[in-house]
Symmetry: C2
Subunit: 395 residues, 2 copies
């Protein structure tokens, strides 16, 4: 009696969940010490101390009625202004609070902006491999997600394939940079080519193609890499940001949309996002969390921890004979499976206590995602198992 | 370039917003002391002290990584269990944590349960006057809201009209008890008649009609009135609850769904709500707030404050000749306009510094909503203006 659409999602989700309930089953079978769970992208570094300190300070000293009140649908004006000023310092922009809309994480932000932009039947493009929730987010707003085949082995966007995929119905493209699941950072050169294609095809079809840049991993980059600031490359860009990773606050559900004044129909888009926050049932991003991130938005969690995890695991896997584009961002490795069927490979790995996610869930068969945001000891103890897994395929 | 659907919502919303930006305009014109804003249902009573104390205790003592982690889509198991036990104490139920799904306020909860239940084109019924957001919530999930004409002057559900409105496409009915905008509490007798009709018509059409009871105002009742616990009257009831009013935490976005085991397709509905939380972009109800309400769910804000406001305002308005069903819940009066056109009446009231909301926004023309959740002094100072307004129509 639940809806057909939800029944499908439930069945699909049960299959995904089964991957994770494997943890307890394996632990029983192999012992706690011999199970290595690389399945979930849950930060394993504490929030900066100032986060809790700021929250306590607000709870102790701010007028309680104001602190717990509804906020504007678009967020608390002083919070929007503080975020704008932080972005101005970092990227040399000239934003005001009007360019910022506070959202219930990036997931909330993406649903909000898609609701604002999409008419029934509109198409949204994305480059595979991609975060699998984009499918339902786009469908929630009446649109259809079309994924562009992966560009192996670099996993960078392929401008030629993009050009072929754009139609008169293309309303937007979602880019995730740094990328989940590959950890690859899209460079400026590549993004400029993407922008050229969007401009060219937009002119050809007489349409405007919005670029939605999903950037929860912006601060998680290594090797001194810079993540290009896409609004400078393509004016019609809206950025969805989250503090889930940069401040390790995934449970708090707090993020924002940046809507530069260069975005087409700027006034309506900004006003629409506030309305969408309300009508989608978010109402407002959690008020306490808005006030906290306004004061802590220039800080970040201990990125060095993830960097070290990456170095240890990447170097070891390569030495065992695995193939993998060296990730420079996020906290994932996207590794080529040692047999064609990624699900079979994931199942084989379980025999060695290793839990990973099949690439097909991200629109890219034949690969697996390893989330290395785990305790250091888990990585160190897992290495011999990875080595044995590789050897099992060499026989 | 924003979507047609959103453009409509933006235009409609701008009209509503205009009502509220009237405040500053009027204050400039008439002076701060002479403007009385009864437009918005924002609690004006502080959260119980234990709320902030509990939040501080968690921030100081709980492991920071756990505190800020993603939670299960359906909520933290111990929180779900604590809420279940509280309901068992209050209503003699035998719930476990499995019957409770934590949501981003009742607005989040309603969107989640509608997403779970509705197929494209399904119909959802509600009794006018009703909270106007139900229209978009139902539309978000692909359904169509059909309102049943108001039952004047009692504003109680009319079972005969309900019977006429049910079709083979009726998937659910939304009931808001105590009611926004009337403040009327639906009694047990009336709800039993509603249940009878739902059972009868369900049999006739071979369908199951879910009853969704939206109860953010459950604790805000006066005169010793009891709000019937609808799952006892109709087994196929899902309750959407929020702590926005009972604990004065509207900005915190925290509430829950109660899904009794008697609900048809119970397992799928519960599992589906967790999935819906995720795919709609809520991901999980804010983690800190989940933990806070688990410990504070048996408390409530100072209801006596609203009761006194109600007494003063209701008695005065009746003495000036206004007509109004005496509200026994929520913090609204739903008053008959003194001319046919409720919008014209609202505009006339502005000349006296009084801001109210036209009834047509709630599917009931000819009435206005007065939100009396304001400072006592505002009510006391407003009385002479209400009296002058009444007199202006007697000339």
């Amino acid at each position: 009696m639940i809806s057909k659409n939800m029944k499908e999602l439930v069945d699909k989700s049960a299959a995904i969940s089964a991957l994770f309930t494997e943890g307890p089953r394996l632990r029983k079978l192999l012992g706690d010490e011999n199970v290595f769970d690389f399945g979930i992208g849950n930060p394993n570094v504490k929030a900066p101390i100032s986060v809790n300190e700021t929250a306590i300070e607000l709870l102790e000293n701010m007028d309680s009625l104001t602190l717990h009140s509804y906020t504007d649908g678009a967020g608390i004006p002083s919070v929007r202004q503080a975020i704008a000023e932080s972005l101005n310092r970092r990227f040399g922009e000239e934003y005001t609070g009007k360019n910022i809309v506070m959202t219930t994480g990036a997931a909330g932000g993406l649903n909000v902006i898609l609701k604002v932009l999409l008419d029934q039947g509109d198409e949204v493009l994305t480059f595979a491999p991609y975060f699998s929730e984009y499918d339902v987010y786009v469908a929630n707003a009446g649109g259809r997600l079309i994924s562009i085949a992966p560009n192996i082995p670099s996993f960078l966007p392929d401008a030629n394939k993009l050009e072929e995929a754009i139609s008169s119905k293309t309303k937007a493209i979602i880019i995730n940079n740094p990328n989940n699941p590959t950890g690859v950072v899209y460079d400026e050169e590549t993004l400029k080519k993407v922008a050229e294609v969007l401009n060219k095809k937009g002119k050809e079809f007489g349409t405007t193609i919005y670029l939605i840049s999903d950037e929860p991993y912006r601060e998680l980059v290594f090797d001194g890499v810079t993540v290009p600031y896409i609004p400078k490359i393509y004016g019609n860009t809206i950025v969805a940001y989250s503090f889930s990773k940069s401040l390790s606050l995934p449970g708090d559900r707090i993020g924002y949309l940046t809507i530069p004044s260069t975005v087409e129909d700027f006034e309506d888009v900004v006003y629409g996002t506030g309305v969408a926050n309300r009508v989608l049932g978010f109402v407002n991003a959690p008020a306490l969390q808005q006030l906290v991130v306004a004061r802590c938005c220039d800080e970040k969690s201990d990125i060095a921890f993830y960097d070290k995890n990456r170095e240890i695991l990447y170097n070891a896997l390569i030495s065992y004979g695995f193939e993998c584009a060296k990730p420079q961002g996020a906290f994932y490795l996207f590794v080529k499976a040692l047999e064609e069927d990624d699900v079979a490979f994931v199942n084989k790995a379980k025999e060695y206590g290793i839990l990973m996610t099949p690439g097909r869930g991200f629109g890219c068969k034949g690969y697996v995602r390893i989330a290395y945001c785990v305790a250091r000891a888990v990585i160190e103890r897992a290495l011999p198992s990875f080595e044995k897994l590789a050897k099992a395929y060499k026989k």
